[in-house]
């Protein structure tokens, strides 16, 4: 089934990974297969399994784990609308509704001509330009974002552009306003701003800023050249440690300290850049990769030098196709210049960077799950200890750092520790890209020092509440996983300690603002939809608990809630958090727990309004199970007692009617009931 050229393409992908680790190429190879066939046919999976030297079931397990891999064909244009909370707050529901009307299909369906398929999607990292849709062009496997689809007219323009065939002339994001002539031209970077001057986003918006010449013209790669020639790895680690950079992915663990955990004298070591930015409300890494990829690459060179790794992987979420192309081009440019590859910058150092696309699994943002995924398996988290720094990718010492953390390394090494520590607070030094989404006038990303207050961010940069008659009700300070703050906590400074003191965590600095026009019941329901969808299924509490909570919330929303469901949810949530295998379990219920604690009144009112009689659902009648009896049971057969020990060969006749009929007559083997 796989053609020669596909096999060659897959072999080239396999060659990108270390010897004996070719299984890592499974996701890229499945993208090749899906591009050719529109889905991943079982026969092709089998042939791929042969190429990778694994069992076909292992390929099947991977295909069904990742959202972006399909077991049956989607339309030529696969439209996926983000309906997660930040988009929901900005009208994703209406956007979806318009699309359904215009295309004449429901979500989850395909138009009869096979041109369009429509689906819900979880957060796509466009929270600042919501509502939005991601479109996959089947025949090429390319993906483009279409954003700010606020009105029915916008949706019409979007569909008209798709039908015109000009929609994929570029892969940079598209908005209706940015392309009034419907030529498919790009809209440029989404809304950004913040302090002056900016560092992490200094070069965003600069024409050609993603090019190597432009980056070098701004002084790029000089730091890397200098450090590689003049410093030792330990000095870099020490400096990063002194700078106090804390991980920007969510946990906030000090980057330099993490680097220090690598055991001495164990090689090879790997650097994995976590670009699987999937936390709803977070869209900061995307802008770095799309508009200043060389900043990241220089950071990778510095970091890999520090931990003495010769291979780095950028694990980028599959949906960030444009960022993927920009990174790939940038790496090629850097390789051509000798900044990557063998003997980089004329030193004896080598560094190879592989950009590895994920395929739609939030769980793969967790560092051990990411490594498992990168090794070519389903993205399940692994036991810790051993921690990745000791035993990570391919069982070797591995540092997993977030994109923004790595970008910070570039600036620390360029400007020095003192300079860096002048920003932010003692415990949360440096600047941060804050993602602002939800019900504000100017959602977007803003680079500001740690310690800026929520009020400054929301009012000075975000322009205050979206609608003047709907005041702010709740704020999620660090991505959807984090506990919700109430409006009266708006003066909390955005640094790790202050947010923690306020009862939440800074997380990935994705600030989601919720106004009075929106129901917290809905927010809770949509949040659990997301975690049910994204739970990897490895451990019991998370797998079963998220689904159970989702069902309860959907029932409440549908007007079947009972007040005692609130206690039940609290009980379930309490037995997920801290009990699950990885932090996903905590992330799944923190929002709900804080929501129930702080906005309980809304839930109570909702239930009393929609279900005044408290007529709870009856326990459904359990299905009657009928075993598939393919043969009569042997259980009822008569039990004649043995007639004692035969002391010699016995010749007495047994009457024929006493001889039991054989209970297992040979029958035709029933056809296997395989799907």
């Amino acid at each position: 089934m796989l053609t020669q050229s596909m096999r060659e393409e897959i072999q080239a992908l396999m060659a990108r990974y270390p010897e004996g680790r070719q299984r890592s190429a499974i996701l890229p190879a499945l993208y090749v297969i899906q591009r050719e066939f529109g889905y991943c046919p079982v026969e092709a999976q089998k042939e791929l399994a042969e190429m990778l030297g694994i069992e076909p079931a292992e390929v099947g397990g991977v295909v069904t784990f990742y959202n972006m891999l399909h077991e049956e064909p989607k339309g030529e244009y696969h439209i996926e609308v983000c309906t997660n909370v930040p988009c929901m707050l900005r009208g994703a529901g209406k956007c979806m509704h318009h699309l359904e009307e215009r295309l004449g299909i429901r979500h989850g369906e395909k138009t009869p001509d096979g041109a369009f398929a429509l689906d819900h999607m979880e957060c796509l990292g466009s929270c600042g330009s919501a509502p939005m849709a991601m479109v996959t062009e089947q025949s090429t496997g390319r993906i483009r974002y279409f954003e700010e689809l606020d009105s029915p007219e916008d949706v019409d323009k979007f569909l008209a552009l798709l039908k015109s065939g000009k929609a994929f002339q570029t892969l940079e994001r598209w908005t209706p306003d940015g392309d009034p002539e419907l030529e498919g031209v790009s809209a440029g970077p989404y809304r950004y701003g913040g302090m002056e001057p900016r560092y992490l986003m200094a070069r965003v918006g600069k024409p050609g800023g993603h090019r190597l010449e432009s980056y070098e013209a701004d002084g790029g790669y000089q730091t890397a050249r200098r450090v590689l020639h003049e410093m030792t790895p330990q000095e870099v680690i020490d400096q990063v440690k002194a700078s106090g950079i804390r991980g920007r992915g969510g946990a906030g663990f000090p980057t330099g300290v993490k680097w220090g955990f690598i055991p001495k004298d164990v090689f090879p070591r790997y650097l994995v850049v976590n670009a699987d930015e999937s936390e709803p409300g977070t869209f900061k890494d995307r802008i770095i990769m799309e508009y200043d990829p060389h900043q990241l690459i220089e950071g990778i060179i510095l970091s890999a030098f520090a931990i003495q790794a010769e291979r780095a992987f950028i694990y980028i979420r599959g949906e960030y196709y444009f960022g993927y192309t920009r990174l790939t081009e940038a790496i090629q440019e850097a390789e051509a210049k000798g900044y990557l590859g063998q003997n980089i910058f004329g030193t004896d150092k080598n560094l190879q960077i592989v950009v590895h696309r994920g395929a739609g699994a939030y769980e793969c943002g967790e560092e051990t799950a990411q490594l498992t995924s990168l090794e070519g398996y389903r993205g399940h988290p692994r036991l810790k200890p051993p921690f990745p720094a000791v035993e990570g990718l391919y069982g070797k010492p591995t540092i997993v750092n977030n994109v923004e953390s790595i970008a910070n390394v570039t600036h620390v090494m360029r400007h020095g520790v003192e300079w860096y520590r002048q920003f932010g607070t003692e415990q949360s030094p440096g600047m941060r890209i804050f993602c602002l989404s939800g019900n504000v006038k100017r959602p977007g990303i803003y680079e500001l020092p740690h310690g800026v207050t929520l009020r400054e961010l929301i009012y000075d940069y975000g322009g205050g509440p979206e609608q003047d008659d709907a005041p702010i009700k709740a704020i999620v300070p660090g991505g959807l996983s984090m506990k919700i703050l109430t409006a009266d906590q708006i003066d909390t400074p955005l640094d790790y300690e202050s947010i923690q003191a306020a009862g939440s965590l800074l997380g990935s600095a994705g600030v989601i603002v919720i106004d009075e026009a929106h129901s917290m019941v809905q927010v809770a329901r949509r949040t659990l939809n997301f975690y049910r969808e994204e739970s990897c299924g490895k451990c019991t509490p998370c797998r079963e608990g998220t689904a159970w909570l989702e069902e309860i919330l959907e029932r409440i929303e549908a007007g079947q809630g009972r007040l005692k469901d609130l206690e039940l949810m609290e009980y379930l949530a309490a037995n997920i958090t801290g009990k699950s295998f990885c932090p996903f379990g905590d992330a799944a219920v923190w929002g709900l727990q804080s929501n129930l604690a702080k906005f309980r009144q809304e839930f109570t009112e909702w239930i009393q309004r929609t279900n005044p009689e408290q007529a709870g659902p009856e326990i459904p009648i359990r299905p009657i199970y009928r075993p598939d009896v393919e043969r009569p049971s042997g259980l009822r057969e008569s039990a004649l007692e043995p007639r004692g020990e035969p002391i010699e060969l016995h010749d007495h006749e047994i009457p024929a009617n006493e001889v039991p009929a054989p209970n297992n007559p040979v029958q035709d083997i029933p056809a296997s009931k395989k799907r």
Partner: protein
Amino acid sequence: MADQATADRVTLTINGREVSVPAGTLLVDAAATVNIEIPIFCSHPKLDPVGCCRMCMVEVETPRGPRLMTACTTPVQPNMVVHTDTEQVRSVQEANLAFILANHPLDCPICDKGGECPLQDQTLRFGPGISLLVEPKRHKQKHYLLSDTIVLDQERCILCWRCIRYLEEWEDKPQIQLFERGADTVIDVQDGQVLDAKTSGNIIDICPVGALTNRVARFSYRPWQVEHTPSICDHCSLGCNLRMDSRTHRLRRIVGRENMQVNDQWICDKGRFAHAWVNHPERLREPLLRKNGELVPVPWREALEFVAEALQRIAQEAGPQAVGAIGSPKLSNESNYALQRLFRGVIGTNNVDHRDGGDVAALPTGLPALAHVMKPQYGPDPKVDTVFLFGLDPSEELPLLDVHLKRAVRRAGMKLIIAHPRRIELTRYQGPYLGYEPGTEVALLNGLARAVLEAGAPLPRQAQAHADRLREWVADADEAMMADLCRVDPAAVQEAARLLAESENALILYGPMVARGKQGPDVRQALINLALLTGHEEGLAYLGLEANSQGCRDVGLLPDRLPGHVPLEDAQAVQRLERLWQCKLPTEPGLTYSQMLDQAGGGVRALYVMGADPASERPSWAENLEQLELLVVQDLFLTETARRAHVVLPAVSWAEQEGTFTNLERRVQRAPRAVRDPHTKAAPDWMILDHLAMHLDVDWPFADERGITAEISRAAPIYQGLDWDALGDQGRQWDASLARPKLAFGPARQRAVPADPERPFVLVTGTVLYDGGALVSLTEELQQFAFGSKAVLHPQDAQRLGIDEGEAITVASPEGSLALTATLQEQVKPGTIWIPESLPGAPVGALLNGVYPVRVNVAKSGA
């Protein structure tokens, strides 16, 4: 306060009790040592920890207060303080069971696992008591076939990963995987693929719920109603320990039983599922005597009188040498011992043998010990660092040895050297593979010896004196001969020689395939040379493949050996046996199995065949058997041989009589009776022979099988002390040093390999697990796995001859021809054709005539 933990022991406190365990022990196991039960599902002592079910949460005191941890993934630390019974732990256990049960179908009344189900037990002890769920339950696939033998119920599955991990960690065939994710996660096989790992049934035993059930046994037992009989498997020479569950005189199911010296706790699928034959309606139920050309039922007395009279008459008329007895390596020591005692002591002939008995160049002592190749989860590293498999295919022939070897290769870095004309499954592991041309075995072994000598590494002391002579004997086995005659890569030969020479403790194992026939003694000598040269003479072993191949030899079912591997010339031993048996023993060596059958109807006029079916093996033997004056067949079924018999005596199976079997590492193990059918006249083998002896006017002293077991321990010195009670449930090995021959260097000559342009292919035979034998063919669930009447060719050869997959072909040798279906596999060496033994309706013996190698011609049928 106890002293601080020593280097290898750790002391901690669990529920206020001080516990001292080896470092590295997991909390769950540490608690078990003081009878504190921590509930588990995913944790299993034979599998790597995964920590996914979250059932085993316990409280561990930390400087920051008590912390919940999974006891199945946390190793003990010195001075750790652990609580398993706090309020918090109890509420977590309740909640976790509530999660597990939320979508469980609770169909316990009709679940096979009910009554022996950890989920039921844990719910009883640790569960919440009530359900809080009011939502509709999730539905998934029920009674869904993973294969013809294993049924999956996805609704009952709690996703503990045990089955997945077994197939990955032990079988190295991850054919079951998780599919989908989150709440939709299920275990499944890939679409269009079937679970065909040869030990797949073990996942049923370790499933902690009723998700995986045994299709052969399903709905036919309740666990509390069956009788458990600890026994052993009778399918191959590994002797896996198993348990037979029976009720109302029927064998209901077979499950694995732990024996850490033999099979860990695993058994293969043939052993587990292929038992329908025990209670099969086609079983013989009464004696048959040929009258007017028809076999008709007669009373026992009449049948036995007829046999006794005829045997006596023929032995008198033509001499005892005209009478022969064939026993069976599928039957117990007791049955075979009684047979050879009857024919040696009463008839007076040494014509006693079994298939692959006197015809193969064996060595008497088998494997040093299976434990030496095992890599148990929490055990010592295997002693053996290198295994050289010569003419053996453990994946098909000895599935549990295959599992042990894979585990040792993957977890302990054991090296594998494989010499086999076919690329057997184990060649997927790194290591030299010598795919030699059939018939060039001696040359290959000489080539290995030459490579060892040429490498110039220091030789073992006892080999140094012989180095020059050996160098001369193997001088011609140079690289050119390896490449041209054996058609193997000389570099692989050198690599194999290097590994053997460097190994501290290697096993050199060979099987009947290379030890049969005229070249057998030369192969054995070449192997002895190689083993002595590399210092591995104690690791050199012949492995018989049948359940009691070793036992048959031990109890003297050989034409030239008395019980205990004693040569006929050993006057002292003969005297001792004559005293024991109260008779005069013949001194002339007897005929081997194939000689008896070749001469049947000629020099041999009467044959007593117990548990063997030579007629289906070779058409020429079937014809010979028809020429006999007397053919007595004692068997379970009306076999091809029985159809030609004058008298057919119905026997009962290993499950219905007691007996001991000796496995390939000389472990004598008990197989007690598990079922007894009161409706049959069939009788245990020993009892038939005992009564026959009575009709021959000899009174044997046996009251039951155990009496024979006791006599064997007196008749065969190597079995001294091994009576029924001494063997226990785990068996005992006899001491190899009692029977180990003194190995000596000697020349081994490669015979000329015949060329025949008319017949361009060389025939390769061998054994497959799912062959056409009665054990498999009477188990309907195994039919899809059965090999069928197939011949396997290399695709290149097939292309050259224009043969497609599945096409009908004719394979012809000078002896005869066979009609078969062609199958194409890369694993078969070009220029060879592979036809396993005992395929349904296609006896590969039709092409053999005792000559090796056999050249054949292959053509499309009708062409």
